[in-house]
Structures are given as C-alpha cells and as structure tokens.
C-alpha cells in the first residue's frame, strides 16, 4: 500500500517534471557564462515549450507557461509581459503545426522551430529597441537563435526518452 502510494507520488512528480524544469530554468536563467565563451547563449525555455506544446503534453498548461514568462521577465529585467507574449506565440505556432500535420516529421519540426524562434526573437528585438529604447546587440540574438536551434535536436532526444519512460 505504502509502496503504491510512493510510486503514485513519484509518478505525479515525474509527470509534472517538464513544467518544473521550465520554472527552474526561468528562475535560474541557465547560463554557462563562467566558462567565458563569448556570445554563447541559448534559450532553453523555447525548446522546452515548443516540444511539449507540440506533443500536447497534458501537464503543460498554457497559463503556467504564461506565468513562467512573467517570472523570466522579472529575473532578466525585461519589460513585464514580453516573455509571456513570446511563450504564448510559441504555443500558438505549435497548436497551428499540430492542426495542419497529419504525419509528424522531426526534421520539419526542427526547421519550423528555427522559423518560429527567429520570428519571435525579431519581434522581441523590435519591441525592445523601438518601444523601450533598449540598446541591444543583434549578434547576440543571432547567436542565441543559432545555438537554440542547434541544441533543439539534442534536447528533443532527451525529452523523447522522458516521454517513453512516462508511457512505460
């Protein structure tokens, strides 16, 4: 009885893991800056949100994603609501892709991801420079987009293991 209950709570925690990781990543703002790699950065929440909303994962609630965006804005120091808008736009893009896709293709998803993050980063850059008069380096955005796109395929394989573990 006890073991069943323990197993149940573990399963519950395991099924909420993606959203938990999303919150940890926005609060912690995963970076490897102490490695002193110039320009190196990638947007982990983009990969996570794109994958799990594309898979229509049941514990990946849009409102929680929205709140995660607010947290991210607060931590990074961006105008409040901007990351929420970006994350919501990713959700819309994945919902649209899900609707039009009959036979999923990982390569197509990958390049669709590149298109979406480029679009969202451009939107972010435009809003910040035009409406909030932020001085930003475009190169940082380009490198960030490139690394996010490159790492997508690695993280996707890990997430697939996770989903496999959950189904088993």
């Amino acid at each position: 009885m006890v073991s069943l209950r323990t197993k149940g709570s573990f399963l519950k925690l395991y099924s909420w893991l993606p959203i938990l990781i999303l919150y940890i990543s926005v609060l912690n703002e995963f970076d490897f800056n102490y490695l002193n790699l110039e320009y190196f950065s990638f947007n982990f929440p983009f990969i996570l949100i794109f994958f799990f909303t594309l898979k229509d994962f049941k514990h990946f609630d849009y409102i929680l994603v929205f709140i995660a965006g607010l947290f991210n804005d607060t931590v990074v120091g961006l105008p409040l609501g901007l990351s929420s808008l970006s994350y919501t736009l990713i959700c819309i893009a994945t919902a649209y892709l899900r609707n039009i896709t009959i036979r999923p293709n990982p390569m197509k998803d990958w390049f669709y991801f590149l298109f979406i993050i480029s679009l969202i980063n451009s939107l972010n850059y435009s809003i910040l420079t035009l409406f909030f008069s932020f001085d930003l380096i475009l190169m940082n955005y380009l490198v960030n987009t490139f690394f996010t796109f490159s790492f997508y395929i690695i993280f996707v394989s890990l997430f697939k293991y996770y989903l496999k573990g959950l189904n088993d």
Partner: protein, 409 residues
Amino acid sequence: MASSRDDFIIAIRSAFLKKSTQQKFSLLTLVFFSLIIVILSSLDFKVIRYSKAVINELVYRSSFIVSVPENFIKDSFIQVKDYTTFFNKYKKNTAELESLKSNYVSNEITEYENRELKELINDYVSSSNKILAKIIVDHDSPFLKSIIINKGSKDNIRIGTNIYDQSYLVGRVIEVNYKTSRVLLLSDLNSNVPVTIAPQNIQAIVTGSGGDNGKIKYIKSGLSDQLIDDSIVYTSGTGAIFKSGVPIGKLKSYEKNSTNEYKVEFYSDFSQLKYVFAEIITQTNILQTAQETNDDNVDKNNPLDAKLKILEDELSIIEESNKKFQKENENLKSEINNLNYKVLSLNNEISSQNRTISQFNLDTEELKFLRLNLTYGHKCRKSLFNNKGFIVGSPEYKNCVLRKGKIDG
C-alpha cells in the same frame, strides 16, 4: 485554392481559440493578457509600480533559492581555477601591497583635503554611508547586464544610488523594491557614465559594450590622439548621476578595421561579484534659508556653525597629519641613533685594525733587520780591524745593516 485558404484559416482559428480539455484559457486570451501587461508595465502608475515590486520581491527570492545548486557548481569551478593561480597571485599581491602602503599616508591627507574643498564648493555637508549588500541574483544575460541586491527602499536605496565593489564603481540602481533592487552594471549597453581620463584630463562618456569592457563614446574630435594605454578612467561627476573621482578602469587600445580604438578595462570583475557596497548619501545644507526659521539668531548661527565645523574639521585634519609626521619623525630619529651607533662601532673597529697593521709592519721591519744583521753585522760593527764601523745599537749601525754592510751612504 479557396479550400487551402479555408484550411489555413480554420487551423489558425483553432490554434488561437480552441481550448484543449486541460487548458483553462485560450491562447488568444493569453496574448491579450501579455499585451495588456506589456503596455501597463511601461506606464508608471502607482498601483502597477507596487504590484511589480511585490512580484519582483517574490521572484528574486525564488530565483535566489533555485540558483543555489548552480551557484555551488559555479563557485567550485572558480575555486579550482583560483587554486591553480594561487602562488602567482600571492606574489603579485605582496608586491602591490608594498607599493600601496607607501602611498597610503599621502592619499589619506589628500582625501581629507578633497572632502573639505568639495563641501566648501557645494555649500552642503554631504555624509555618505556605504552599506554592504549581498547579490542574490546575478544571471549574466547576454542581452542585459544587471544584478539584484538584497537592499531596497527599506535601507534608503533610491533609483540612481551608486554601487561599488570596494572603491571601484560597479553601476547604479535602476529599480527599487522594498527589500531588493536591480543594479544596471557599467558593462550594459544602456549604461552611460561621464568620465575623466587621467593624466590627459579628457572628458568623455563610457558606455557598456555588452561584454566585459566599456567603450569610449562622445569624445571631442582630435583629443582621441592624446589617449594612451593604461590611462586611468574615473567618474567626472558631470550630471550629478555618479559621484566624482570614483575609479572605473584603465584604458586599452586595440586595432579595429585598421583604426586605433580604445576600450575601458574595468577594475572590478563583474562576473565574480558576491557583495557590493551601496552608497547612501544624505545632504545637510550649510546655509539655511530665512523662510525656514523666524529666529534671527539661528539664522546667524547656522552659517557660523557650519564654518566652525569646517574649521574644526580642518584642525582635526592638521592634527592628524601632524601626528603622522611626528610619528614618522620619531621613527627617523631612532633610525639616525641606530646608524650613529653603528658608525661609532665601525670606527673603533677600523682603529684597532690600523693598530694591528702598524704592529705587523714594525715586526716585519725588525725581522728583516735581524736577518741582515746575521749576514752583514760584522761589516758594520766597530772593531779593532774595522775603524769605519759603528757602535752596535746605534741608528747608523742599523742603517748600515739595512744597506747590506755598505758603510758609505
């Protein structure tokens, strides 16, 4: 054609409006929410400001807790790195400490004088109090360079409060909450600091590069030729945003598109900050306005009090510097005494050595005479057969022996 357009519209409508069974809000609603929040956050309403402050407090604390494991890894990495360069750093620091010690006394006096002069120029007595603040969030975003400290409006932190690492400028506060504040670092692209470049005394503006350095901006044309490597960059105080005379970094030149460009290497390493100092400045006017009080005596007394205070300060500076000089004099006197004693003992030693040498010379001459006496003594001695000889022991006899028996000089 029309069918494919319909499909697209249906897919878009579905993506925007359709809620899955688990979803509580449609995505369109959330987009609207986001836009409303973005617009509201750009407006400076009191309600929004307070709600933002509450959210900030909660999120910063949560972020601090969540960052503990990563910070632990980061610290361990830095510690290992430090151990590898430990000895070299120690040697460098020892040499630096020696040179700093020698500059300490004169710097302190200059500092007192500067403070006094500034107070006289500004007509107010500004007392600054640096409080220690811990950095709770230092996520080095590639886009924005800022840190969060654990001091806020409760500790008298205001927007614009200068933040230091030891005595080096780090940045200024741009957002204040009740118990936390956000500091915009000098390396951020949006940071602009009016500076003076010494020793050329050139005024410029240093702006962040988004990396680890700063860039020189808005320098008067023609003056850039005068810039040299290792020139010191410090705040000029223009615009009263930053306090004047605070060191920022050193100037370094580099080649860019075959032209010579200059960057500022900050003294402080922003990625290694753990604690910083926030300078709380309180200003007390020396000259009170007549409207503030009806009492004439008080009106007369206040400037007098202020002047007296300045004079007292001056006196205390002089006394303090006198004490330092006296102490230095005493040290020098005792050093002179020690040296005199050493000279005396050395003189004694020299005279005793001289005596020994002269005795040695005497003995050598005597020995030479005795040797020659054995050989030539009979030629110089006066006897029955030698009328030309001399009496033994007389100086003439000795000379004769030393001349190897030659009687005629």
